[in-house]
Every structure is written in structure tokens, then in C-alpha cells.
Symmetry: C2
């Protein structure tokens, strides 16, 4: 078996160090690399400074086999990364005629006169050129001094599709060890509790391994195996996966999903059901999250964001007397919102959320008090949650959405809906 | 003047290297540090592995004055980070009685039986303890070997508030150089074009400095000055800022804003106006984005997510004949949606979005074709955009939202609305 290829992702950009931008490139590249059996061992971020970048490249050469750089290739950075990397590996930069013509064309067709764009066509001699379909600066890859180097532009909308389309095929040829990783996705029980359930087993395991990961409002248990083939790795994972699912029971909403709404989408498809949402404190986040999923329109008809009381009355038919007596943050209003949007949009199911996401309270309820409703034919459920005053606005909104999706999932799966 | 404190943020967690989690902690900490005049020079991510972490700590000790660690303190990681850092600086771990009692209390009050939680009360001797109000694992800070070390738990909901409440005051005492940074926020003109406008000046400037940063769907020009006091730094920035704003004209939507909706909120407040949103392809994202801002309910009454045509008719009053003749992706439907939601929710203004966010098309329009409407008393505007088929669904949705907010900003500022 060939050795495993340890990888370092080296991101170049002062904007990252100033906290203006989040390093999502490193995350996305790491995810893609782990799927093709390449271990990422380090992420490093350094500013637009040749000396410090050079020093980081030297460190990376000592501890990694593959170096992936992001950033420092654009028209505003004097192609810092290319120059430093080429120099470090003793390569000249030579003009790539195809890229040069392409850049000329790009400018000519009206994206504005950007003369400094031409230096982007200078690339390390002998490299594989990654043409940039998503922007201007080309990326590239080369092998030198026994190391494999991939260079990509920094903007995520260029970096990520280019890595998938160009770098992954180039890197896949290097490895013959496969890592397979599956995650068991859990909502309604915390990471600590999951850890306690499996602590002894996890400590004993070496291959496959198992580890719990906390996400913002749910968590997952990751099971990872290394083997010489995908089939063998899968066979190692299968019994562990079955055991974990059995112990966690109906807290498990799926495997290898990135969010609970994906599980909901699959169930809606299976049962051929539609839904709508009436949102107060989540302000459209449930609709937004579900419609991030391509194909959402087959199941989600729409929703009402009833951010103020008069809209709860006019657009959802919530009774003004109930609003006055019970206040907007109540079990009764949550139920009426779900029923109202379901009737008006003529869907099979409807969810609703009303509560206090903070930071300001209403003088009656504690911040973090949220009621989540689910209306189906002939029945309405309401869940009452108290997330605690120390939670952020965005946490409360996201968690409320998770509850709404969880209630839909449970109802469609024939599980109890109100308690969790 | 004391020396500048170079900082390295060292994040510990295999989940970051697997791409399961984005390193938002490093971004948030960097932003807070830059505001108090502390330079972040490196971010490093390493897995839950003592040898590799130890090597990273040695590198950080050589190139940084301040080391901020995140992660590896929780009940599931055997307190890896604390042990390695304490060892590296020759410090013992001793039990902190207050924290130990607090952890016992936390468990007793029903968060579940988590016996491994107690080792979290072991902390480096002589450290300043940062009590964790947002979770269980305490953080801490100490000075040793002329370096300053801050250790924080990894989950962002604990790390970020704890850094702000505990680490910032501790670190502020170290520095007497102040960095002040302001950003000029721009929508409607690209980073390259901004760069071209100011390239010569930027190359000549040393203090203050100026740099353009591309964000997902807009960009900003960052002006940064270092001085011995905030007042002096501000005075250095002011004339540069004025010059930049004059050259960029009405592409500038504000300074030091994180998004165009913040500019819209300020204008709505100034003019005492309300608005509503009718969303098709953005699926609630405009409502969600605006209601992320605390206090949104004073200006945003609500909205309709009309994801399918029948909801455009039933909830917004869009004429079925217009939908049939022009299709949902049209200037006419965008206008009718904005007018419909404005009439029904009785607001001063209303925006609408209808278009194709992809990946699937409708057989008529290219993906990325989006119409954005703005209805005000007696007048309706529509902007037609073609973002290109290579754009991602999330880019198209976000950009469409930016256009809607930009149209509101322009109308409230007395600027032309439809062209940009």
C-alpha cells in the first residue's frame, strides 16, 4: 500500500486574519479530500506577506506531502502565492498563451478594464493548468521535490467548484488507500450524552473509529474506516452503524445528511405530501432553509412571515381576541398560525413558529421561549421550548426551525410529536 | 511604544480537518483582536493528536507573542489542549475547586450524567480562570516564557462570547498600540474595478493602508491605520475615507456595515417607513436576512413566500392570466408580487423576487435570470438580472436579496432605482 498523503491547506489572505472573511475554502476542500481518502492534517492561514508565506511553505514542505494553497492569485494581490511557491520549488513562471488570450477575451467582453489581470496568465513551468470557469485567475498543480502542490484562487465561488472539477481528479490518481466516513445524524440529545453512551467503545476502537461532533443545534456521530477498497471500508462500517442506530433510536434523523430538513424532504417525497410554514420569530428561516434544497418546490408551496400581529390576523386568520388574551407567544397562537397557513395554502401539513428570539423580551416571557406548531388533517400539535436567555438570536431561530422539521419528521414516521 | 503583539490562533479539532465544521471561531476572534490593536499573523488548525499539537505549539511559540487556542477542552476530547499547552510551558494542571463545584452543580441540575466532565476543572497552575457561562468547560489564560496564552472551548456559542467577555479585557492590558480599521461597503461594482480605481494609491500607502475585499455578493474597501491612540488613528483615516467615498459615489451603501440590509434598516428608521417582501426563488431569505437584525419588527411587517404559482395567485393576487402568458419569471409578475404584498400587508414599500436560482431551469429562461421588484406609493420598479448559469443556487439567492435591498436603499436615498 502506498503511504497516506498528508495534506496541508495553506490559505493566503490578510482579510482572513482581520476576521473579515471566514475560511470556508479550507472546510470545503477538507470535506472533498476526506471523501477521496486524503488526510488533511493542517490548515494554515497567513497574510499577504511574502516572507511569512515563504516560512509557512517551508513548514508545510516538512510536514505534508500535498500542499493546497487558496488565495493570493487574484488581480489585487500581485499573484503573491504563485511567485512564492514557484520560487520555493525553484520553478520559473512562464506565460500561458491560452490563459492570456482567455483573460483578454474576458476583459474585452465588458467586465471592465483591468490591466493587472494579465499577470494571472503567468504560471509555474510544467504545471497542469486549471482553467477558471468561475472567475479570472487560473489555478494550477505541479509535482516538485516529491511534493504535490495545488494552487487555487481564494473566492469560494471560484475555489470550491475549481477544486471539485480540476484538483480532485488530479489528486485522486495519487492515493490507493480509501477512507470512508459516514455520519449518524441526531437531534434531541446532546453531544455529551451521545459521548457517554459510546465512550468505552470509542476508546477501544482504532479502525473503524467513531467520534461525536456537536453542530450548532444538533450533533452527529462520525464512523470512519480506512481500507484498500471502498467495499472493504463500507463492510467495516456497517455493523458499527447498525449498533449505533439501535442505541440512539428515534433521535436519529438520518445518515450522511447535513441537516434535518434533508430528512424531511426525503419523507415528503416518500409520502407524497406538501407543506407550508407560518413564521414569526424565525422570520422566514424555515422557508429559506427548505428552499436551499434543490427540488423544494415539489413539496413546499410557500409560507407567510407574520412578523407583526396584524399580519398574523390578516394573512393567517389568527383571532384578534386570542392574540390579545394569550399574547403572540403562546400555544394557542402557534396552533392557529399552523392551521391558518395550512388552510390558506391548501397543503397536507403546516408548521408554525412564534416566540422570542431576543435580544429584547416582551416583558412576559423569557427570551428563548418558543412555541412550534404542526397542523395536519384533523390534528394540531404544539411543542413548547425554553432555550435559555443566554442563547443567541441566531441559535434560537435555528433551533426553532430544527424543532419544526423534527416534528414533521416524527409525524411522517409515526413517532410521538410533541415530546422529544 | 511597546512592541506589537503578533498572535497565532491555534484551533484544535479533527472535525475541522474533516471539513465537518467551519472555523468560524478564528474569524470571530480575529475580528475582535484587530479591533483592540492586536495583529493576528497566523491561524493554524490541527487535529486531536498530542504529537502534532505539540509541534504546532512549538512553531507558534517561535513566531507569535500571543497564542490563542480554541477547542480540545470539552468532555469528549480528554482535555488534550490543556495538557499539551501546560506541558509545553512546564506548568502543572491543578484542580480548581470553584470550577469543580460548578461542574458538579451543572450535572446535578439535570443536563445528564457526564462523569468525564470533572476533568475540565483541572487547569494550569497560576492561570486566570475564565468561567464558562455558555457551556461547561472553563477557559483560561496565563503568561509563561514571555508568551501570553489564552485557551477557550471550541463550540462557537461558547468560544465567541467567552472571548469577548473574558479574553478581550485580559489582552487589552498588553497593548498600547491601537489599530483602527474602517470599511467602505460597496454594491454594484466588482472588486477588480474597485482595485483599478485605487491601485496606484494603494501601492503608495503604508499607514493608513487601503485594500479591497471581495465578499460573496458585494465588496468592501478597508482602510486601516495604526497609531498610539484611537483619535490619532481616526484622524489619519478620515481624509482617505472622504476621498474614497467621493470616487465611488452611490455604489457606496455605508461604512462598517456587514451587509446592505443594515443600511436599509438605518434608512427605514430615518424615514419611518415599513416594508414587506414577496419571495419566490429567494424562498424567505430576504425576510430571514432582515429579521436577523435585532429590532427588525419596527420596520418589517412580514412577507409571503410564494414558492408555487397558486400561492402567487391566492396570497398575493397575481393574475392567473399574467402568470400563464408571461410565466412566473417575468417583469410583470415581479411587479404584481410587490404590489400585491404591499397592498395586503399595508406597508409603505414592498420588494419582490422571482427567478431561477437553479440548478434546474424552466425550459424558457437561463438559470440566474431573476426579476426584482420594488413597489412604493404610486410607482413600481423592476430590475432584471442575468447572473450567469455558472452561479450557485445560494449565490443567486443572496445576490437577488442584495438587489432588493439595494433598490430600497436607492429609492429612500433619492437615487435611480432600476439601473445600477
Amino acid at each position: 500500500m502506498k503511504k497516506a498523503f498528508d495534506t496541508e491547506i495553506l490559505s493566503v489572505g490578510t482579510e482572513l486574519l482581520l476576521g473579515r472573511v471566514t475560511n470556508t475554502d479550507a472546510r470545503d476542500i477538507s470535506e472533498m479530500l476526506s471523501k477521496i481518502g486524503i488526510n488533511v492534517k493542517y490548515h494554515t492561514v497567513v497574510g499577504d506577506n511574502p516572507e511569512r508565506l515563504r516560512a509557512c511553505v517551508e513548514i508545510a514542505k516538512q510536514r505534508a506531502d500535498i500542499i493546497v494553497t487558496t488565495g493570493g492569485l487574484g488581480p489585487t494581490c500581485d499573484d503573491l502565492t504563485k511567485q512564492v511557491l514557484a520560487e520555493s520549488f525553484g520553478l520559473r513562471l512562464v506565460k500561458n498563451e491560452d490563459e492570456d488570450r482567455g483573460l483578454f477575451e474576458y476583459i474585452r467582453t465588458g467586465r471592465g478594464l483591468t490591466p493587472n489581470v494579465h499577470q494571472q496568465a503567468l504560471l509555474p513551468e510544467g504545471c497542469t493548468v486549471f482553467h477558471n470557469l468561475w472567475g479570472t485567475a487560473p489555478g494550477c498543480a505541479f509535482e516538485a521535490e516529491g511534493k504535490f502542490v495545488v494552487m487555487l484562487p481564494g473566492p469560494p465561488k471560484e475555489c470550491v467548484p475549481m477544486f471539485a472539477a480540476c484538483a480532485v481528479p488530479w489528486l485522486k490518481k495519487l492515493s490507493d488507500e480509501v477512507i470512508v466516513s459516514h455520519s449518524v445524524c441526531v437531534f434531541g440529545i446532546g453531544e455529551s450524552a451521545v459521548d457517554d453512551l459510546f465512550a468505552d467503545e470509542m476508546n477501544r476502537m482504532t479502525n473503524p473509529t467513531m467520534a461525536p461532533y456537536a453542530k450548532e443545534c444538533d450533533c452527529l456521530l462520525q464512523i470512519t474506516a480506512k481500507a484498500e477498497s471502498e467495499e472493504k471500508a463500507e463492510a467495516m462500517i456497517a455493523p458499527v452503524m447498525a449498533h449505533v442506530k439501535e442505541r440512539l433510536g428515534d433521535y436519529v434523523y438520518g445518515t450522511d445528511l447535513s441537516c434535518v430538513e434533508e430528512a424531511v424532504m426525503a419523507l415528503l417525497k416518500e409520502k407524497n405530501l406538501s407543506f407550508a410554514a407560518a413564521e414569526s420569530c424565525t422570520g422566514g428561516d424555515i422557508a429559506r432553509r427548505f428552499t436551499e434544497l434543490p427540488g423544494a418546490s415539489a413539496f413546499f408551496k410557500g409560507g407567510v412571515v407574520s412578523y407583526v400581529n396584524e399580519v398574523k390576523e390578516s394573512m393567517l386568520g389568527v383571532d384578534a381576541a386570542v392574540l390579545a388574551e394569550k399574547t403572540a407567544v403562546s400555544r394557542e397562537v402557534a396552533a392557529a398560525m399552523a392551521e391558518g397557513v395550512r388552510a390558506r395554502l391548501k397543503t397536507d401539513m403546516a408548521v408554525s413558529v412564534t416566540g422570542l428570539a431576543g435580544p429584547d423580551g416582551d416583558g412576559v416571557h423569557e427570551v428563548g421561549t418558543v412555541f412550534i406548531g404542526l397542523a395536519v388533517e384533523g390534528q394540531t400539535f404544539v411543542r413548547e421550548t425554553h432555550m435559555g436567555r443566554n442563547r443567541t438570536r441566531s441559535f434560537i431561530r435555528r433551533m426553532a426551525g430544527n424543532h419544526a422539521f423534527d416534528m414533521m419528521r416524527r409525524w411522517m414516521s409515526g413517532l410521538p410529536v410533541e415530546d422529544r
